[in-house]
Subunit: 653 residues, 2 copies
């Protein structure tokens, strides 16, 4: 449904496929192309056309025009619809003998061939106007036509009802890009970025500075691609972000830096991640957390597409602790409720063994979540699915209990719940008839995480059953703040690692804990969440060399030699500074409603990191490796197996 359907939609009603808003698509595209409150760009300057196909209206009647475009379709050798990047226009194929050569060109050229036509803009005969098409009042009476390039047989028709696998779309990306949706996505992306630049450069004095991508490995940089140099054994690495450089720019007095930065992360195969991605990278001197937050809110409001409702700022904010307790995640989707409630006190005297046992433990809690109308809409197999999902992702102890508020709490567990517990639960959670309640017990974090996960699964299931929970036209931004500065390492829980990165400044009110109970210190880190997706994160940085050294050396046990240049820089008049990075691919993906970030990137890699069009990465001869002093260590057969056994379900390469 998502892609390629624009052709048939064009003829039906020109409605946009994304979201639930129905708007004329070419009109929306044109509005997006023109920057708000600025002159409309000249789309036909410097080229051999006078106009674009999509811009012609009744106001052009009588004008001699030259158009270039692709043959979209042809009807009975009488009409031809010509397409360019701005829309469609109807071409009248001349029928008289004197125009035989023009007629031949227009009738014989295969669909998707490229032609140039010149002629006059005329009215369509009365009754033949197409009010649903922006150019529907006019057509072109052609005088000359030229075949610029014939199109061979296409691997797939550029039509909605021809279903294409994503692998095929990526293999023939240059054809896929002709779809309305890809054109819309890429143009919207370009426009949003341009408006961000205007906001940062022109309104707020930021300097756009390019930082190197050939850098050196950072401590713990296991996900950094390596680039062999011509010096034996020496490698550059492609950085995951310009973090060090942007801090050094602040030390260098650049004051306000931004960059639309290409970043790299080698995570092997992961769905909906790309080995290279783009972030809006920002850093400011003399700023605090609030300053960065207000800047980013202004940035998003300014660059927000005109065809969406304007953003309301400031965005709401929530502490990490609150997000976990209420939504079971650090990136809550706040478009809908279904909040988690601590019901431990309700069940202090419960007879349900599972709950009682949990509460007997020092950190034990009972958590509940009310799924509105869950009892009405969720089917038996849905419940089974949720139960299995919980069992799969969480240990037995936090398995959910389903309480069905319908028909006097008819679920099997209901009988174990005392009347006063039921009343208190109903009051506390505002349970209505036909709601469903999920109960679980365990330690706070685990129980919340489970319900947070089930909350999203229930939302998916309810929407599958027709309940509207998450309006695609609604964009719920949320700041999540007050993250812990350190986490216990998973493999060695007595050791600490940075929750985000080691340059994050501790909360000023927690400074004293740094030397006594560092695990309790909160960091001046903030995440920006949109509809349940983390789209940005940043922090106030450490500008004190001594503090930075203490955290790196004493708390994190890092090898500070690798960061000696940064520590030295902090010692030489580093200003207080902070910043943020916004994930551009994800942001544009959410704004356009695209199913994947691959749909907002011109030439994305497949799930396994392949360019299916050109076949990258590719083999390289030993001769070509010689200047880099490396050679390939071919895996043994058993290793080979494990290499090729990586999941490959998603895309066929």
């Amino acid at each position: 449904m998502y892609l390629g359907s624009w052709l048939s939609r064009l003829s039906r009603g020109l409605s946009r496929p994304i979201g639930k808003t129905m708007r004329p698509i070419w009109a929306s595209l044109s509005r997006n192309l023109a920057l708000s409150s600025q002159r409309i760009p000249e789309f036909s300057s410097f080229v051999s056309r006078t106009n674009t196909c999509g811009e012609l209206r009744s106001s052009h009647l009588g004008q001699e025009v030259t158009l270039c475009g692709w043959i979209q379709y042809r009807r009975q050798n009488t009409f031809l619809v010509l397409r360019d990047c701005h829309g469609l226009v109807q071409i009248l194929i001349p029928q008289d003998e004197s125009a035989a050569s023009v007629r031949r060109i227009l009738c014989e050229a295969p669909v998707e061939s490229v032609v140039r036509v010149s002629g006059t803009v005329i009215s369509r005969p009365p009754g033949q106007e197409n009010p649903k098409m922006p150019t529907g009042e006019i057509e072109i009476k052609v005088k000359t036509a030229e075949l610029l390039n014939a199109c061979k047989k296409l691997p797939f028709e550029i039509k909605d009802f021809v279903k294409k696998t994503e692998a095929l779309r990526l293999q023939y990306r240059y054809l896929d890009l002709r779809s309305f949706q890809m054109q819309y996505n890429l143009r919207l992306r370009s426009k949003m970025v341009m408006k961000m630049r205007e906001y940062l450069c022109n309104l707020h004095g930021f300097v756009d500075i390019e930082t190197p991508t050939l850098f050196k490995r950072t401590p713990g940089g296991a996900k950094e691609f390596l680039v062999p140099s011509r010096e034996p054994g020496k490698f550059y690495s492609l950085p995951q972000s310009p973090q060090q450089f942007k801090q050094l720019l602040m030390v260098g007095g650049l004051d306000r830096y931004f960059q639309v930065a290409r970043c790299y992360r080698d995570e092997g195969s992961r769905p909906d991640r790309q080995p290279e991605f783009t972030q809006i990278d920002i850093e400011m001197s003399f700023v605090d957390q609030t300053g960065i937050q207000r800047l980013v809110e202004g940035l998003l409001q300014y660059s927000w597409p005109d065809d969406k409702d304007p953003l309301l700022i400031p965005f709401p904010s929530m502490t990490f602790a609150e997000a976990l307790a209420t939504y079971g995640t650090d990136k809550p989707d706040t478009r809908f409720g279904m909040k988690i409630v601590d019901t431990s006190d309700v069940f202090r005297n419960t007879e349900m063994r599972f709950l009682r046992d949990a509460l007997a433990k020092p950190q034990g809690t009972v958590k509940a979540m009310c799924v509105p109308q869950g009892a009405k809409y969720l089917r038996k197999e849905d419940i089974e699915y949720i139960r299995k999902s919980a069992a799969h992702h969480f240990s037995q102890e936090v398995l959910p209990i389903f309480l069905n508020a319908k028909k006097n709490w008819s679920s099997p567990f209901a009988k174990f719940i005392m009347e006063e517990e039921r009343l208190e639960l109903t009051r506390l959670m505002e349970i209505q008839e036909e709601d469903m309640v999920l109960l679980t017990a365990g330690d706070h974090e685990k129980a919340c995480s489970l319900l947070g996960k089930l909350r999203l699964e229930c939302a998916d299931l309810l929407e599958l059953r027709g309940v509207v929970l998450r309006d695609p036209a609604v964009f719920s931004f949320l700041w999540v703040v007050d993250f812990p500065l350190f986490l216990a390492k998973e493999e060695r829980p007595t050791e600490l690692e940075s929750a985000h990165h080691p340059f994050t400044a501790p909360h000023s009110s927690d400074m004293h804990l740094l030397y006594t109970e560092p695990e309790k210190v909160r960091g001046q880190h903030y995440d920006l969440v949109l509809n349940g997706n983390e789209i940005g994160g940043g922090s106030v940085r450490i500008h004190d060399a001594q503090l930075q050294r203490y955290i790196l050396e004493t708390l994190l046990k890092e090898d500070v030699k690798l960061l000696s240049h940064l520590l030295q820089a902090l010692d030489h008049g580093a200003p207080p500074h902070g910043g943020i990075a916004l994930g551009l691919d994800r942001l544009v993906c959410l704004v356009t409603g695209a199913p994947s970030i691959r749909d907002v990137i011109a030439f994305p890699k497949s799930y396994r990191g392949h360019d299916l069009m050109s076949n990258a990465p590719d083999s390289v001869s030993a001769e070509e490796l010689k200047p880099y002093h490396i050679h390939v260590l071919w895996p043994t057969d058993s290793e080979e197996e494990s290499v090729s056994a990586t999941p490959s379900k998603h895309l066929s390469s």
Copy 2:
């Protein structure tokens, strides 16, 4: 002289060090920060200052301000000059007992420490104004002060008279960036790019599209860095330009693409080249050569800095043949004359053996260049230097002959020149007394190339002797067109290679030669030259698959399998298209008058490709190489020697 001299210049007269124009530097900086005909950016939004140091004027008198900045210098514990990215302001250190703590902070903090001060803008006492300083009428009466970060002993003072090697500057880049010149260069670069974006996106409807940098090796891509993937033996490569992608975008109907694109080229050690660099990358559909040229002229005119004379467009144009014949190069510096003249006819009957022998050969020519006032200014050692340079770079047969027009052609060769030859030469070349004439003989190309090289050396020498030839305030743009499409391979002259790249379209009037005498075909390629530097190049591309295949396979003998995706794309409705790429680093370098592109890049690599600050590239453990299935082939001792024997004169790393 170039760098770090701004401090002393500030106190002397606030003149700009670059070029020969003398302007107040901070004023120039502020003008550049504000985009022309747009509102001035808010430089103090979102941060804990009310104003920047450099913006305060008499109009701010009486205002309470909070400023953040670096301590530039202190005078007798009475005044302190505070610096931020926008300028300097004088702070009055309070002398009264009640302000003892403020006084202590401001007097004790080392130079380059970071402080925040609050106070009132007051007039300087009569007679103490500094008219050369933009903030010279006011000073700040401080009420509170806070030391934000103390500065440890600096590796070098940020002062003019402290000479620093470039290696030291690069090692402490974060300090070097504080210099006026680096701030100016990076801000001017940011502003120029922003204006280019406005021109392309907002005025002419271009779409900013990011293309991948993890790609696959292209045919003949010997200069492409490799990036090992996690698949054994498979490598990405970092492309030298988005050439293929931008053509595919045109096939995809994106119509007008641009990108400020990061590109990569591994050329080993080369002075004034960077392993990663930036180009303004442009491609358009339905365009011809003139269209691209007019677009680029408009682009440069629009983005040209306000503190320079506006550019006159269109730029002059010259064929490759003319450039070679007249300037001996394909990138003539047209700021000065000294054109090459063919004097073969003058010397048809010469008695000079060297010339006579040359003219006896089928392709033999005699070329001459008149160096105005050369006889007056050039010294004996200069002539010797030129002669040696010629001998070093060219074979004996094109060695130059020096004719000294002073004192009746007093040079040793003069006696061999007949009176009528002398008269004809004088007429033809408009030789004046005190000029010097260089004569050489050989085939056209070699003789012109030699004189082209000597022309620049003579210009250098004349300027060394005080003659102004190349005004740094003059920017001479020039299109060079009609390049040959193919060149004979140096190592195998019977085979052809592309003069630029294999996607360049042949001249339409030379199409017939493609199948008979391909070496005579001119390409639709154009170079943009600025003051003798190539700053851009582009072409109309081949959009016909059959023609592209013929050129790749039959003429260039390339393996078309590596480009099958591109050939396929051309077969599926590729529009005619063309484009250009401008070298941003070089352009900004020329505009700012910087001695090296390293001075317009925030964190450049050294001559040998090293990051002297962080020490990239760096060693990587065998363990870290494991996921990439490679290991290091350590060179044997003899190889090692040849590796470390690469020239290392330029920078110490």
